[in-house]
Every structure is written in C-alpha cells, then in structure tokens.
C-alpha cells in the first residue's frame, strides 16, 4: 500500500505536475519576451524571473497537495528554525505564506469569514483567521493543504503565533514544539541564547520520532549552507535597489521573497536567486527602473498589504514614487550574517533570537535610519498593521524620530496585512496623495 501511495505521489507531483508547471513557466517566459502584453502606463514590465517564482510556488503547493502520501508534514511559523526539519525530510508548510497567497488572490476575506463564523474574533491576526478558516472549511486557492504531523511555533515574530498554534494543536490533535525566544529589549543575554539552543536540541528528538528517522549532521550542515547562500543572494538582490533608478521595488520583493521564506535550504532556491541577481544586474546595466520615471524613493515598514500590492505600486508609481526598501524583506537577508555552517545549532539559536521582530523598537528605528541612508530615501511609509501588534507598536515614535532626527517625511498608514475590510481605499488614496505632495513631487 505504501508503494501505491508513493507511486501516486510521484505520478501527480513529479510526472504530471512538475511537467505542467515547467511548460507554463516556458510559456510565460516566452510571452514576457514580447512585452506588448504588459499594460501599465507607469510600471515597467515585471521581472522575467516571475515565471520561475510562479513555478517554484506552484510546485511547493503541488507537493503540499500530495505531501501526506510521501512525507511527514510540519506546519511552522515564518521565523521558526527549520533547518533540522528540512534535514529530516519534512514537507514544511508556512501557514502565514499560505494566508498571504489567499490575500494576493483576494480570497482571504472569504476564507477568514469561515473562522469568524466559528467564533474567532475579528480582532485577532488576519493570517491566523485565514489559516483557521482553511482548517475549518478546507477552502484554499492551492488545492488542499496537507495535514500536519507536527507543529512548530517560534515566538521570535510574536506571541500571537503561539496562541494560534495552540488552537491548531488542540483542533488537529497534533504535537506542538515550542521554540521560545526571549525578546531582546536591549542586549541579548547568554542565558536567553542558551535557552533557545537547549530548546532546539530538545526539539530534535521529538521531530526525529515523528519523522521516524534520525538527524544526520552532514545533512543539517548542507541545509544550513544552502540556506546561508540563498540568504546572502537575497540580501544582495534587495540591496541592488540602492541604485537609481531602482531596478526592483518592495512590491517585487514581496512576491519574490516566497522561496527564501519557504524553501530556504533547497539547492533550487540558490539557483533561483542567483538568476534573479543576474536579471536585476542586467536591468541596472540597461538603466531600467521599476517605474518609468523615478522622482522619489520611499521605505516601507511592516508587512505588505497583500490584497492591494498592485494598487499601491501604481498609485505611487503614477506620481513618480518608487518604494524601494523595506524592513520586512530585509529580515530574511539579515539572517545570513549569523549563520555558521560548522556550528549549526549554536548559530541557529543566535540567528533566530536575533531577527528584527524580536529586537527592541529602537533597534528597528536604527535599521530604518540605516536604510534611509543606504538606499537614498526621501521618506517612509509605516504601515500600521492592525493585525500585527508586535511589528506595529513603536511606529508612532519611530515616525516622529525619522522626521526629527533624519529629516524625512514619514506617513503612518492604517491598514491590515490580510483583512481588506480594514482598508478603505478612499481614505488611503487621500492620505497617500497628500503625503506625495508633501514630498514635493
């Protein structure tokens, strides 16, 4: 029977699905060559690599559709240490990314309402609501999500994920591994790093038991190495936006960050970002920017507004404004600085406790200030995200300091990363228009 399951998996995923997705990528790439299909007066055509991104994401979710036939499956939070899970052969699903996919295809609201009907408040994170909506109703734009055998929640992005995963663990009756990363108010302490390291060490046997095999150190090092290479390339890609005109916007980054989040330790991810870097460099050589006429450059803080990416890009682009840097996409590049392939577990503890959301609000301000300088920015949009308290608290002061200490205008934009009902297009347009006028465009 197990053979039969394997055959089914390979038939659907590797023979049919993979081929189909590859053909679609070729078609899309071929079509992109004749850029006449691109209809936007303000934005330049998307990167050619987009077809590849689509293929990667498509294949990831396609594998997910059949993963229960072939792999043990784990659902993890976006900041979780996944290297050991990957080395153990788990299929890794990121519910946050899945929720974002629902957001970009404008299905988040409908799916989240399934969770609301079950009693989940509109005041809880819209990612969590979307994910719980899928768990409750089975609704998803990606076919189906594989049932988890293991849940891993890491508190380095927020405490909300733990609350959310406790519910998943309860509803799905699946063990939950907690990696608790003490918040770094100012200096990281040795006992905090030791605590994280110990939890990862203790998580390994639990994961091994679920996986039914033991962790091979060489595999862990291999995954860590690939993850490091991919992160370094990603950092290079996003830093290319320092060029004027910027060859890549944050809106591109939001889309093309999926592999670095979801498939960090895969060899294919390294190839993908290497190719992306080449394409971005070609753009620089040709002097192509993301908008046809770049007059001003902005910073984006906090999560994207997934269901309005195109609207925001065009609204600002039409006024000569490019949004070129973000604290959010930078987070996955920053990771690379702390990874040490030869000491994977120790360095994982240090890496994962150190991500931007687990550091103080003053530290985040320093990152923003550095970006304003490095990317030659004229202003900042701080997305005050109703659904993400951990990212949003501090923005009122950060905005104030950016204006006073750096001298750039900054706008606090009230919205929500995945809940269209918290987004009023009229109000947002008004705010943005006034802000752009302030920039002197």
């Amino acid at each position: 029977m197990s053979l039969c399951r394997e055959l089914r998996y390979h038939w659907y995923v590797n023979l049919l699905g993979r081929t189909g997705l590859r053909v679609r990528r070729w078609q899309a790439t071929w079509q992109a060559k004749s850029s006449s299909r691109w209809k936007s007066e303000v934005l330049t055509p998307p990167l050619k690599i987009s077809a590849w991104t689509k293929e990667l994401i498509g294949r990831h979710y396609l594998k997910g559709n059949y993963a229960n036939l072939h792999n043990k499956v784990t659902w993890v939070t976006s900041g979780a240490p996944v290297e050991f899970l990957q080395a153990l052969g788990f299929y890794i699903l990121y519910p946050e990314n899945h929720a974002a996919v629902c957001g970009t295809v404008r299905l988040a609201e409908e799916i989240a309402s399934q969770a609301e009907n079950a009693g989940f408040s509109q005041d809880i994170c819209s990612y969590a609501r979307t994910d719980l909506g899928t768990v409750i109703s089975g609704k998803t734009p990606v076919g189906r999500l594989p049932r988890p055998d293991l849940l891993v929640a890491c508190t380095n992005i927020c405490q909300t994920v733990l609350l959310w995963y406790r519910v998943l663990s309860h509803r799905l009756d699946v063990p939950l591994i907690l990696i608790d990363t003490p918040f770094i108010y100012s200096q990281v302490t040795d006992h905090a790093v030791e605590f994280v390291k110990r939890q990862i060490e203790e998580a390994i046997p639990t994961a091994e038991k679920v996986a039914g095999k033991s962790l091979k150190m060489y595999k862990l090092e291999e995954v860590a190495k690939l993850g490091l290479q991919a992160s370094e390339l990603w950092l290079e890609v996003i830093e290319r936006a320092q060029h004027r005109p910027a060859p890549i916007s944050v809106f591109d980054q939001f889309i093309h960050m999926a592999p670095i989040v979801e498939m960090r330790g895969n060899p294919g991810t390294v190839d993908f970002y290497a190719a992306m870097l080449r394409e971005v460099d070609e753009r620089i050589a040709q002097g192509i920017g993301v908008i046809k006429e770049e007059k001003k450059r902005l910073l984006w803080d906090n999560l994207p507004i997934w269901y309005r990416l195109r609207f925001l890009a065009e609204f600002l682009g039409r006024r000569g404004v490019a949004v070129v840097a973000s604290t959010y996409t930078n987070a996955w590049g920053e990771l690379s600085r702390l990874i040490e392939v030869s000491r994977p577990i120790e360095s994982m503890a240090r890496t994962y406790i150190f991500i931007i959301l687990n550091r103080g609000t003053g530290d985040k301000l320093s990152v923003m200030k550095r970006m304003v300088e490095d990317f030659h920015l004229d202003g900042a949009i701080l997305h005050s995200d109703r659904s993400c308290k951990s990212y949003s608290i501090g923005q009122l002061d950060q905005r104030d300091r950016l204006m006073r200490e750096v001298g750039v205008p900054a706008l606090l934009l009230e919205a929500d990363h995945n809940a269209p009902r918290a987004f009023s297009e009229e109000q947002v347009s008004n705010r943005l228009a006034a802000f752009v006028e302030m920039l002197g465009v």
């Binding site: 309402s113 009907n117 269209p420 009902r421 009023s424 009229e426 109000q427």
Partner: protein, 253 residues
C-alpha cells in the same frame, strides 16, 4: 411594554395570551412622558388597568415605573415567538440600534444568544445611514435592492467605511440599486456570522423593524438555503412576550 431605542411598543393580551390590542410609536426623547401617555391610551381602549400586571422590556425598561417586573428582551422575544409558532428555532431580531440572535429550544427555552449593540454594523442603522447617503426612502430600500440586475460587492462591514465606499461607488457611476443590493448582502453576511456563533437551529425566524425589508428576508433564505418565517407583527414580538410574562404573574396570583 417594549421600550426600544427606536420604537416603543405596548401590547395587551387576553387570558389565553392572544394579542388584544397594541400600539407602536417612535421613541421620543422624553420617554417617561411617552410611557404615561401610552398607558393612558391603553386605559381608554381597554378600560381601567388596575390589577393588570405590566412587564417592561427593552433598553428603556428601567424607566417604566409602573411595571411589576422587568425582563430582558432576549427572554421576551423567545417567549413571544414561541407563542406564535409553538416550536423552537433561531430568531434573528434586527432593531434600529442593535440586533440579536436567539437559539430557542423545542420547548421555548433560550439555549444561547448573541447581541450586537457596539457598532452600527449589523443593525438597522447600517441600512438607515447608507440609505441617507443614497437618498432612498428606508421603506423602499429592500425592493430597490431586489430590482437590481447586478450586485456591487461592498467590502466594508463598518458603517463609516461603507459610507465612504458608497461615495466612491457613486463617483464611479455605479447604479443605486446595485449598490443597495451589495449593502443588503453585507448586512446579511454580518447577521449570518452572528447566527453561526450560536449555531443555526432551524427554522430561521425574523423579527424587528428590518424584518419588513424583503431583500434581507430573500438574502437570508438564499444564503442559508432555509425558509425564513415571519411573525404576523415582527415589531411586536418582544412586547407580546412581555405581556405573556405578565399573564403568568396574573395566573399565579
């Protein structure tokens, strides 16, 4: 007597609990004076009221000093609707300022309930305020909405956001009936979310002022796939229930 935020209702029942007489008025700012006047009217129509117990319900129930007892509108609505239909189910009551969903057992007891009184979304006010925006008389809203050939999705359930959304839809040249249809859909979905939190026990029953709106009825049926039952006097269910509580006191005396 049901002293609501939008309307005041007074119902009298006979010994069998059948509705004998009723009156319905818009709530006035001087509620106590209005209560006295309504009771006088009842006296004129029915004869002296001495010895006949009065039960008050609704938001202003504390202002009815003549009442023997006060009972919440949850219990009164459950009692009133059970009297009329003789079976359980889920009652959706949409008032001017609040709305409630009550799950009623086959014996008429309240199993669970949920109320929304914090914001205008999901209440009659949502329609009233948006009707003002569109300059459509409230009574005609439902019919106009049903006459629309297409439906414009309204993403905001928040009344304030919905108003700005309407402004922009009008600016984009959307037809008023299509916007209305979208608004009704939005309200219906909000109500259904409340229904689902108590769990839908069939049949679905509808009361309150908004029950007279045919679009809400239609859409509730469409979304649930169940027939929705309307009482004879949708706005008097609570007051009728209160009168039945009063009758109980009378019988135990």
């Amino acid at each position: 007597m049901d002293v609501g935020s939008t309307t005041n209702k007074l119902v009298a029942v006979n010994a069998e609990g059948e509705m004998l007489w009723n009156v319905l008025e818009q709530t006035e700012p001087r509620v106590e004076e209005q209560i006295n006047r309504l009771l006088e009217q009842a006296g004129e129509a029915l004869g002296p009221l001495e010895g006949i117990p009065l039960i008050a319900t609704g938001y202003g129930r504390g202002l009815v000093h003549q009442a023997r007892r006060t009972v919440t509108e949850i219990s009164c609505h459950a009692r009133g609707i059970y009297r009329e239909f003789g079976h359980g189910g889920t009652l959706v009551d949409i008032g001017g300022q609040d709305s409630k969903v009550i799950a009623i057992s086959p014996q008429g007891a309240v199993l669970d309930f949920v109320m929304n009184d914090k914001c205008a979304a999901g209440t009659g006010q949502f329609l009233e305020r948006t009707a003002n925006r569109l300059v459509v008389p409230l009574e005609q809203m439902g019919r106009e909405a049903l006459s629309a050939a297409r439906e414009v999705p309204i993403s905001s359930t928040c009344t304030v956001f919905a108003e700005t959304e309407i402004v922009s839809l009008i600016a984009h040249g959307e037809a008023v009936p299509s916007i209305l249809r979208g608004l009704h859909r939005s309200l219906t979905k909000r109500l259904l979310a409340m229904v689902r939190t108590v769990g839908l026990v069939t049949p679905l029953m509808l009361s309150g002022g908004v029950a007279q709106n045919p679009a809400i009825l239609h859409m509730l049926e469409e979304e649930t796939g169940e027939q929705v039952i309307l009482p004879l006097h949708p706005q008097l269910v609570g007051a009728h229930g209160a009168a039945l509580f009063a009758l109980e006191i009378m019988e135990t005396v």
